[in-house]
Symmetry: C2
Subunit: 477 residues, 2 copies
């Protein structure tokens, strides 16, 4: 393997191996992988996948390791293929309004490079400073402004992908439209590294909206009223560039940390932004739609005070992290069920006596219930998924999620599905959610998806045991 | 088969069989199919596909037959599965901003039903009054406003699809976001009826933009200058709701038909619309961007005069049809190559001495070169694809495209591919373009796509010989 990856590097350094056990979900694999290969270019990726296919070596593709579902977590016997060093913006064409990037580029880096030309990369996951575009593509990452400007899938025009065996597949194109053949690009986006390894992507750029955005902060007596107000915004025909909901738990954490008194204004916060040439007029319509639901409404059209309003959103997660280890969940429901789901999450938290704070991309019906685990409770346990999830994984050194949190999470997922929703709006299935996948998709679809996966990866070497609940594969991790 | 489709109907009426030979490409199959089955519901579709799979009967799914690439054209020995009678809007939920429709519903019907709630269905192919949503989904139809509001793929949240064998597959969901498993919905959109038969679709609705749109008509010394102006619009950061380019040939046809004198203003026309709360401000920026390129610029913000400006676009195709039979082509190029492609098409027309008029969705780089065939030249010939395309197809009754037109079309496709473009932006491959597919996708991708197709349709009964250049299948048509 060393000879085949002369420009890259091969490491069995214990620090590298240990790092590859974990991602930002906080739940490491039971034991370190065998080796970490850092690809320096496409040839390295081809060489690794040719040999891995030949010798049936399980491969875990990995970017910055910031995933929240265990999708890039590697375990015993696995080869970690790191794409972080492939971090060049190969091309940025203002005339075509596209960029061609390697997978290790960060979304924020691309966005900054595009800004020099009055353009931007629209998808803005909260991790945009730290996650790689390869990872964003693998999970079909969303973000704050995606309700108006689209998720990652809508931004990816074409991909260069190395398949198991080492063959390079080119999908899609440099054009905005195109329907020749099947949409392999869309099939690969969100496939969590199970079908092939992305080595380059042609990404669509969009113009930066003109003028100053208008920012609105509105407070409500409870999260249910805030969710109802979000529905009123959409019903009024306004498509906000951003519509974020924070519940009382977040406001309390912010107040406790920063000495503010947000809860004097209400027990839930809705932050909205409108943008473009009609920003001010849209903000007026938005404010009119929510006013009857709100306790306090604040509007800003200058950057400094807007930034102050948005601080609550930016600091929400750090504020919660001061209370304990956050387990960031991710479900989505039909828009009309947002208020019901907000309420259901609170009730589930109470019933299981676990701390859960809810943040939502309210225009999408995408909720992030965040379970806060007291570090004292996160005792030595069974690693990813807990004993209940995967009895084959056993490592006494890994931290354990308290059983009550797992039971509460299980109820959150089940409730989202009952409301016609989904297990994951933008984080992916990875390892942590595979248990519920069949309940959402149905056995027939899971079986079909397994067969499609086998077309790309007949020997099952890529991200084995991730995404689909395949009993034959899960034991390997 | 009759017993299995009690609610539907089975026809061998020669008029029905003959109708199913053709679509709007104007080039019928060499001989009529065996039978037309009109499904009245999901059970009929399941029954037909169960039997067809069992007895290996080739099936051609069909909506309104308005396709432009032969995708719904049926030939000898084939069973036509018509979805036109499945034309109910099953549900329209303003709160969820979605509709659930059967495949036979027209886009315009859905749009009108949504309008009652201040919503609309964004994709607006020129055929929206006559084509079915099933067909729009099969081709991933675009339209005039898709550069701003998305193509069909972006509007489809979930599908109910019957697979060969009769099994019902549910894909996607009712939520705006969702990443559980592979994106089968996106894989099925644009698959031209080769993977399964869509029996229901959950479609995203969008708010109707507030206020009056602003409409701009700008004339230019030639189409090259108009295309350059379109580039200037995008470079100025304006995303128009509509940006249509008509060349001199169209203006001449309109002048000749309607007694106007459009060519006194210029030799090419760019029609633009901006919409939403910032429509007027965006129109000003758009006008400023194009003014230096233009000979005349007209702006309207009232519906009546806007309608007058847009009449040129609405009447463009009828005007051309008065000159002969139009062969409507469809290529897309990277945005920076729009002007080059407009010029290349004109040169190719001159070189082959064929009449070609060009219409473009200029914000997308999507061009429709329209070859005008003198009815006198469209003599008895070989049916779809011409003798050169498929020597096995031979029917003396079908009209023939003059060889010069085929040679010119071949050059148009090759030139688009050389510019980094695609064979088809929104019409699909069908039968007419399969010859060039491997040149765009590469043999490796074609092979992979064949294997994916076989996962859905192992016996190859669905729309056999369409989309992919499969020598083993083409002989059947």
């Amino acid at each position: 393997m060393r000879a085949a990856t002369s420009a890259g590097s091969v490491s069995q350094d214990p620090a590298d191996l240990t790092a590859a056990r974990a991602d930002r979900s906080g739940w490491p694999s039971p034991a370190p992988p065998a080796v970490v290969v850092r690809a320096a270019g496409v040839d390295d990726v081809c060489a690794v996948l040719r040999l891995a296919h030949e010798y049936r070596v399980p491969v875990v593709p990995r970017g910055a390791g910031t995933g929240l579902a265990g999708g890039a977590v590697a375990g015993p016997g696995e080869l970690v293929l790191s794409l972080e060093r492939m971090n060049r913006i190969r091309e940025l064409s203002p005339a075509d309004m596209i960029a061609v990037v390697e997978p290790g580029v960060r979304a924020a880096e691309l966005d900054q490079a595009a800004a020099a030309h009055g353009l931007r990369y629209a998808p803005d996951p909260a991790s945009l400073d730290i996650s790689t575009l390869g990872g964003n593509i693998a999970t079909n990452a969303g973000g704050l402004r995606c309700a108006k400007y689209g998720v990652t899938r809508e931004a990816v025009l074409g991909l260069d992908v190395v398949l198991p065996g080492g063959e390079l597949l080119r999908t899609g194109r440099r054009t905005v439209k195109g329907v020749t053949g099947y949409d392999l690009t869309a099939l690969l986006v969100g496939s969590e590294g199970t079908l092939g390894v992305v080595v380059a992507a042609a990404l669509r750029l969009q113009p930066i909206p003109p003028g100053q955005p208008a920012t609105i902060a509105a407070y409500f007596r409870d999260a249910h009223a805030a969710a109802a107000a979000a529905g009123a915004v959409l019903a009024a025909g306004v498509t906000p560039a951003l519509l974020e909901l924070l519940d009382a738990r977040f406001l309390a954490a912010l107040d406790a940390w920063r000495g503010t008194d947000l809860r004097a204004r209400g027990q839930a916060l809705l932050l909205a932004q409108t943008d473009g040439a009609g920003a001010a007029a849209d903000a007026d319509r938005l404010a009119a739609a929510i006013r009857e639901h709100a306790t306090v409404v604040e509007i800003s059209t200058d950057p400094a005070s807007a930034d102050e309003l948005l601080a609550a959103r930016r600091l929400a997660l750090p504020a919660i992290e001061r209370l304990g280890r956050p387990l960031i969940e991710d479900v989505a429901v039909p828009r009309s069920r947002l208020a019901d789901m907000v309420e259901a999450i609170a009730r589930i938290g109470e019933r299981h006596d676990v701390v859960v704070a809810t943040l939502a991309h309210a225009a999408d019906g995408n909720l992030h219930p965040i379970f806060v685990v007291d570090p004292a409770e996160a005792v030595a346990g069974t690693g990813i998924g807990g004993a209940e999830l995967d009895a084959t994984a056993g490592d006494p050194g890994a931290p354990q999620v308290p059983e009550a949190v797992w039971r509460a999470a299980d109820e959150v997922f089940t409730t989202a599905l009952e409301m016609g929703g989904t297990l994951t709006g933008e984080h992916g299935v990875g390892l942590l959610k595979r248990r519920w996948v069949a309940a959402e998709l149905g056995d027939g679809s899971v079986d079909l998806q397994r067969r499609l996966r086998a077309v790309f990866d007949p020997r099952g070497i890529l991200n084995r045991g991730k995404v689909l609940p395949d009993p034959a594969n899960t034991a390997a991790v």
